[in-house]
Symmetry: D2
């Protein structure tokens, strides 16, 4: 951390800052320039509250040098995290995982038939929403507890492990038989939820918030890991930008960037990012080509009766084509 | 709502869409153009799931015409909502309310002394954080339950009503004696929390999320109102943009825009928006000049011992100057 | 185009609007809803000035249905535009073109040696900047006319066609022997320049502006095409977002989206988008996988003496690896 | 400037970087931390090309400490720049200037009548577009040379100085009798144009680009000033964000921020920022309250015949009300 000092600062203010910093177990090197005096702060700065530093009278600004995350950092663990969810399904570490299924669970029949379709097409994990975060209180909010039971029925029927979204701490116990708990983009900084998920031993699928930087995402992973749960799966699903044509802007640079900074797996969700079914295949191919550890894809099978399908869902046949193409790309760049 | 149909659509697909729409109690007018055929959908479209419409094979896109919120809409209630929180403090409807206090409650002594300072300077409501959403799990997370008790002590001591942030549904009962419950920007779309807050009879101070549109903010207010709680206070606190110099970009057009669309009060928080204490006064003046119903301002009084003060906090004397200037501006434009 | 009318509008205002619209050779269909009355405007709306429509007293808002571009639209020309720049190099229509070379031309020796390297590695077009748009007036502004001559020398030496950036109308005549004229992101809406480039018969390489939507980019292409020059090459090079880790956010959804909307070729520049050499290869692979018509990549060969190399330039060996990988990916998805 | 070095860097690479830096007349202080080694670079770093520094093998990243602009910086000139355009009109230094007039010049009658109206209402400078940057090539592009002549006629008739937009270097000579030359948002980084405007002695009204940071704006001012023209007027007119309700997001924090960093005047354009006439007055008030040096406001007088009025134009009466309110606010906060 480099601290830029204000020009005319009283000695007493400098001393106050110096004393405070030294109590944080860091050391200070001074660089006196013509325009600014800088303090280089050396040591473990990850626990230093930068807002606190900036509130000192003497401080004009700070520049972070080290990353504020530790457990999520690749420097703390050079090898990739590999998450084994049983049934031969491993996530990360060179494995490529397909998470597929409907946006929303609507009936036992529906979720089981989509589960069979996606399993046949090569999916490793079944996704399906029971608790649904909807922008409007007047639209379908998911089948909730009943939906979870249907999802677990589909798991039993097909053997596919399942991932589904949690929306509140109070729901955790309902997720006991769920294999992976998803935290949606809107809850990426719901820190009370993250802390509770850090106390259980179940992988967490953490979606990037719509206005979250890479660092914000890693800090949210750090919240989970700091409580003891090392199994976090990161998911790029698009950020909010000025472009109105797509629902969000899929930021694929996140994939190689994050994989350089962290040992955690990085999955891409091209369905929610684009909001358009015709963009799912090309973006899935792109994600695989730039090194993602897997894809989360929305698949429906009978749009005519769907209660909450999105315009981004693809049919099982299209999903098969995506899997086939992705496998060819992965072979090509191996 | 206007639905744009795909060019070569089979009759059966059109029928399927028409049947579905008619079941939603709306009527359809057809406009056949050279390039596109449009369906104008007339009736109460607020309950129609637009994702669902877009997932129909026949649909190329939709354009919303009516607002998707109802209870929050000014058309549902032409007069301003005025929220009486006792002690002579009313919010909205031409009143101007100052919410002031420290970022974080640190001790009984601290919160009581800041409370006295801000009360003397003209504040109507004391703010102070007990549960703190921090980006890093390694920085101070607030005094939590103990902090709440200190805040209520300060309320007793000064008579000021209090507002403080909730972070999880499970905390609601702890907020029994709190006058206004704040939902922070990161939880603006934590719908489970919003629904629970809709079931109690206590005003909710709802901060705009960093990537939330005006409509998203109003839809989150609608979540609370749809459950039965009409007392929602909206707060503009800056959005995330590409500009790195300020923490967020304060979007003051939100004030006149929202006040045109909704009867709910609109408060501005210039402290968190800018992240720089020297910008608080000019932005507070600007907020008052464009019609805000009040200000939320971070005030500290002894920065040298603060545990989590932000670089955006002002001293009580500066807060007094802000109040004095704002009152002059309000008189000027009355 | 759908026009939303204000609720209480006087008949005379409606007549004024109706008369004006009818003069534009369009017809109007009325849809009267409970909350709004809509006018569906049918006919060639591409020449209607939407700002003008919105300025009528009677109008609350408008929603565009048809695209405002015509010549650039795929509906005006279903087959892909293929641009033949001689020497067997064709751009678009299933061809994949590599544009490679240094950020800045520094000496005849440098540009010729990089040209030889990239040609050997598979490049089809040599890029190199003579006129350089730099954020600071105090940094190297390019070798300008002399740089252009060196670039043409490199063309003569290697047979590679060349592309280089123009910054002002007055420079057009200097570009006579240049094969493709590049318009940089900062000049994407320099309409005087676009119009002049529309009057010459030389392909234009048009980079997306940092805050340009897909539609803005196509409208800038339309400016060139409307003047008579059909040979426009679009280039995605990243947009400005809140993410600070990368220079810009490469928006790869633009590739399949644009290719659906237009017949023009779409090239991706992963070098400028990311600003980091280690991200160039994965993003180049991703661009190829999602259907780009080519890549523009910054290649340097002797960083130790460079005057203005960017942190995003790769070495010739890395460029060779990129070409090899991209060809495998293209074969895989063919 | 602080340079962050890569961890395992060969001595020869460090030497190469050190030699290069020393040639730039700066000195280096080394801070060796556990995780990173930093070099603090002291001296005049404004001429150092940061892209160049980042391209060195040894460099992991840099953090700028000093501002890269010099002539525009308040530290180079503590007092405010005051620009005297004759006729008693001064801009900056505590003066408050109203720039008003129609979007587009349409006829001599129109511009003269609007000029008279706005003069009567208190305007100091007449604005009006002759060369119009329009997104579509098919909409009215302005009256160009003829429009300029009409504007000068209005100047003669009313005595009001005039400001109008330039779109290309080749137009400069046409602007001889124009008092202030405007550079629009789309041309803010048209560096060839900025350099030429730096060579003449006429104030330049420089609008912030839609994706330009404060620093980008100041660097564009620096381009003009570095060529010898000190009279630059900055204009905040909104930036592009994800919010679709307003045309752009007016960023009023720019006003106090820029006024802290530079001695140049800062004007606010609430008309183009919002794109909605009902937002112009509240945003104008807000701009005055936070310390702007003036306002640019679009005023029309006969919307029924306008060729290119925007939905953001106000009538002369509304402009009068804005002036009256702004004067009261300025008195209130004096």
């Amino acid at each position: 951390m480099v601290i830029i000092l204000k020009k005319q600062t009283e000695e007493s203010e400098l001393n106050r800052l110096r004393t405070w910093l030294e109590r944080q177990n860091v050391t200070i090197s001074v660089i006196a320039g013509e325009q600014h005096t800088l303090w280089g702060v050396v040591g473990d700065t990850s626990r230093i509250d930068t807002d606190m530093v900036e509130s000192f009278e003497a401080v004009e600004g700070i520049r972070r040098i080290s990353e504020p995350y530790k457990l999520a950092s690749r420097s703390s663990r050079p090898g990739d995290t590999v998450i084994d969810i049983g049934n031969g399904v491993k996530i990360g570490g060179g494995n490529f995982t397909y998470f597929a299924g409907p946006c929303t669970i609507e009936s036992e029949f529906q979720i089981i038939s989509v589960a069979k379709s996606v399993k046949a097409a090569g999916a490793h994990v079944l996704r399906g929403g029971a608790f649904k975060p909807r922008t409007s209180p007047y639209t379908f909010q998911g089948m909730r507890d009943a939906g979870l039971r249907m999802l677990l029925e589909a798991k039993k029927e097909t053997g596919l492990p399942v991932v589904t979204e949690i929306m509140d701490v109070s729901q955790i116990e309902l997720f006991e038989d769920v294999d992976i708990i998803q935290v949606g983009a809107r809850n990426m900084q719901n820190y009370e939820l993250l802390k509770e998920l850090g106390k259980i031993s179940k992988p967490v699928f953490l979606k990037r918030g719509q206005s979250a930087t890479y660092q914000d995402l890693l800090m949210s992973a750090e919240y989970i890991m700091a409580e003891g749960n090392p199994d976090v799966i990161l998911c790029e699903r698009g950020i909010r930008t000025f472009e109105p044509a797509t629902r969000n802007t899929l930021d694929l640079a996140s994939v190689p960037y994050l994989k350089g900074k962290t040992h955690l797996p990085v999955i891409v969700d091209p369905s929610h990012a684009s909001g358009m079914s015709e963009l799912v295949k090309p973006l899935a191919f792109a994600a695989a080509a730039c090194g993602a550890d897997g894809l989360m894809i929305e698949v429906h099978n009978n749009p005519s009766t769907a209660l909450c399908d999105g315009p981004q869902a693809v049919l099982p046949d299209e999903f098969s084509e995506i899997v086939a193409g992705v496998e060819k790309i992965r072979n090509a760049i191996r």
